[in-house]
């Protein structure tokens, strides 16, 4: 309790958000009810957005909330509700598949964790413990530089000392345009693929052929 005042509360919030993200990700894995899976995923991704805010990327954090949680997951939940036959559908996986997956996943996790903690530059606390300078920096203003970078102008080039790194900092206009066209294509494609069709009745061959031809005549 003595350390309550002196502790670095930024670390506490990091552990809180990281714990929520990881625990609810595991909960997604373990539960068999699809709607609950979607719900746990929402919380996990929300905690990830919190981690983004803690790391100083407040624009990306807000984007994560808006696009991922507010868009993609709403889509997912709609899909879940449209495809759930009985209310709480559950499909069990064979234990053999579980074992194999856990072995592969576990070894991958060990490898990644070892790699994460081996490079000394990545756990150098001298910079991380300088809380005073951290609090000064805590006024993160990344929205406008990000927006300008997307239009091709990298305004953080001014601060960059190293000449080689400075040359490597390019604008992101081309990926931005490509992604917008990509989104348009996805919009059209997904809307076309998920259009309402008449259900195919598998009774007789001539009937099925007729009914399959009908949706294409619709539009």
């Amino acid at each position: 309790m003595i350390n309550l005042l002196a502790a670095n509360w930024g670390d506490f919030y990091f552990i809180l958000f990281a714990g929520i993200a990881c625990i609810f990700a595991v909960a997604v894995l373990l539960t068999s009810n699809v709607v609950r899976m979607a719900f746990y995923l929402i919380i996990s991704l929300g905690a990830t957005a919190g981690l983004f805010f803690l790391a100083g990327a407040e624009f990306v954090g807000a984007m994560q909330l808006m696009i991922y949680v507010g868009g993609t997951l709403v889509l997912l939940i709609f899909g879940v509700m449209l495809t759930a036959q009985s209310r709480f559908i559950s499909m069990k996986t064979h234990p053999r598949d579980w074992l194999l997956a856990v072995i592969v996943g576990g070894s991958l996790l060990m490898l990644l964790l070892t790699a994460a903690f081996r490079v000394p530059d990545w756990h150098n606390e001298k910079h991380a413990q300088d809380a005073a300078s951290q609090l000064e920096m805590a006024d993160s203003k990344t929205a406008t530089p990000l927006g300008l970078a997307l239009t091709g102008v990298r305004v953080d080039k001014i601060d960059q000392g190293d000449e080689q790194l400075k040359e490597g900092m390019s604008g992101y206009l081309l990926p931005f345009v490509i992604v917008s066209i990509h989104l348009l294509v996805v919009l059209i494609g997904a809307a076309y693929m998920a259009r309402a069709k008449r259900a195919v009745r598998v009774s007789q061959d001539e009937e099925t052929e007729e009914e399959e031809a009908n949706p294409e005549q619709d539009e």
């Binding site: 709607v35 609950r36 807000a62 909330l65 808006m66 997951l73 709480f88 929205a143 305004v155």
Partner: protein, 441 residues
């Protein structure tokens, strides 16, 4: 406040003050939301009564019945906790709190006066829009977990409606953000200081139209009539909150009234000058921009002003609810996709064109206090190592309508210019002091 508490602890690099400051802000905002809901429910009953040629509550708490909502709240607290049998228990119980949490979280970025904001996020507009979009989860989960067809239909319709109306809402919100040059709500509010000619509403006719489209989309976004088929009393019993009673139902209601106040407040800051009144009384007296007690009182008056304006917005929403008939779901989506989106896009192009062509607007008069609150990022004023094609373009976007007629009472600004050792006559900012001090020309 955080630094004060931190210095009181006396240890180096203490961060506990931030936690305490955050808690205090959260508790204050919780009071705003809860008491606001109380007042708005009473106001709704009175307004609806008067529109329907009756009186509304008149017994509890004197002649005007202003304690009626409190009595209703006590009754709701005492109700039996009923959950339907076929319901998914955990999701059923969690759903109202998710809705309320999303509605409350957006208040964290909403400023009530100059600097009176829980968290001065630099991309506050975006954050508010993002968090408002999370309210739909509570609705969907409530509809699904209730285990009844009517709830599910109501929830699906509402989710489709809210998600569809986020598009024109975003388009409408972008226009004042573009005019201000920042997404920081405190800066946007400060830019409209002075007489009402400084309000973004009066910047050009396109922005004027955009406000009305924003109001329509905001009404649809919070599921108020005429877009309230999710809770349509005549069709779906009560839509997604059919199975809810007692305190859980009141959480949904608090979320709804909280969201109404929030989008109303957002519209007020973006278009109606925020806490700056139509008449700049505080500037005329000289209390604004001064430190100490008078500065605090000026900010307090601004806060009261802001709340009054937001309440007017909420009252107009209530007025519309009890006047217009309800739209069908296909009419709702038609309104969104066929009317709101093209209109908002056209007005956006018009407003952008107005600004780029530098056509005259009442904002350029700068009547009243000077809006010398520039959006001063250090890379915009430091000597640039940028390619030559970009350099001439950059200053112009900052200079327009932002050069200072410094009022007499703007004391902090010359001090900052001196301490930073930079002589910049026109580009001062009351807000981005830290970015100024980091400049190294």
């Amino acid at each position: 406040m955080a630094e004060f508490i931190n210095s009181m602890i006396g240890q180096e690099g203490a961060t506990f003050g931030y936690v305490v400051a955050a808690l205090v802000h959260c508790v204050l905002l919780l009071h705003v939301v809860a008491v606001g809901a109380l007042i708005f429910i009473w106001l709704e009953r009175k307004v609806s009564g008067r529109i329907q040629d009756r009186l509304g509550p008149t017994r509890v708490g004197g002649k005007f019945g202003w304690l009626q909502t409190l009595a209703d709240g006590i009754k709701l607290l005492a109700k039996e906790d009923v959950t339907p049998d076929g319901a998914d228990q955990m999701l059923f119980k969690l759903a109202p709190y998710i809705s309320f949490a999303a509605s409350f979280a957006a208040f964290l970025a909403l400023p009530f006066a100059d600097g009176w904001v829980a968290n001065n996020i630099n991309s506050a507009v975006f954050f508010v829009l993002a968090v408002l979009g999370l309210e739909v989860f509570g609705v969907i989960l409530a509809g699904y977990a209730s285990g009844s067809k009517w709830s599910l239909f109501g929830a699906m319709r509402e989710a489709a409606q809210v998600v569809s109306y986020e598009i024109p809402l975003g388009l409408c919100v972008v226009v004042p953000v573009f005019l201000a040059g920042t997404m920081n709500l405190v800066t946007i509010g400060n830019m409209q200081a002075g007489w009402f000619s400084n309000w973004f509403l009066l910047h050009d006719p396109f922005t004027f139209c955009v406000f009305w489209i924003f109001f329509t989309c905001a009404t649809a976004s919070v599921n108020r009539a005429p877009f309230d088929l999710a809770e349509a009393e005549s069709e779906l019993v009560a839509g997604f909150h059919t199975e809810y009673s007692g305190l859980r139902w009141s959480f949904f209601f608090m979320a709804e009234y909280g969201s109404m106040f929030l989008v109303s407040g957002l519209g007020v800051i973006l278009f109606f000058g925020g806490w700056n009144g139509p008449v700049p009384i505080m500037h005329i007296i000289g209390w604004a921009d001064s430190g100490g007690l008078t500065g605090y009182l000026a900010n307090l008056a601004g806060c009261v002003n802001f709340m009054l304006k937001a309440t007017v917005g909420v009252t107009v929403m209530m007025w519309i609810r009890w006047t217009l008939p309800r739209l069908r779901i296909d009419q709702v989506i038609t309104t969104c996709l066929k009317y709101c989106v093209p209109l908002a896009s056209a007005c956006f192009i018009g407003a952008v064109g107005w600004e780029v062509l530098d056509i005259w607007s009442p904002n350029h008069l700068h009547l009243g206090a000077a809006p010398a609150h520039t959006v001063n990022e250090k890379w915009a004023t430091a000597p640039r190592g940028l390619p030559d094609a970009i350099e001439p373009l950059m200053p112009e976007s900052e200079q327009h309508s932002k050069d200072g007629l410094l009022p007499e009472s703007e004391q902090p600004a010359p001090e900052q210019a001196e301490t930073a050792g930079v002589s910049q006559p026109a580009r001062t900012s009351l807000l981005s002091a830290s970015s100024q001090q980091e400049e190294s020309p």
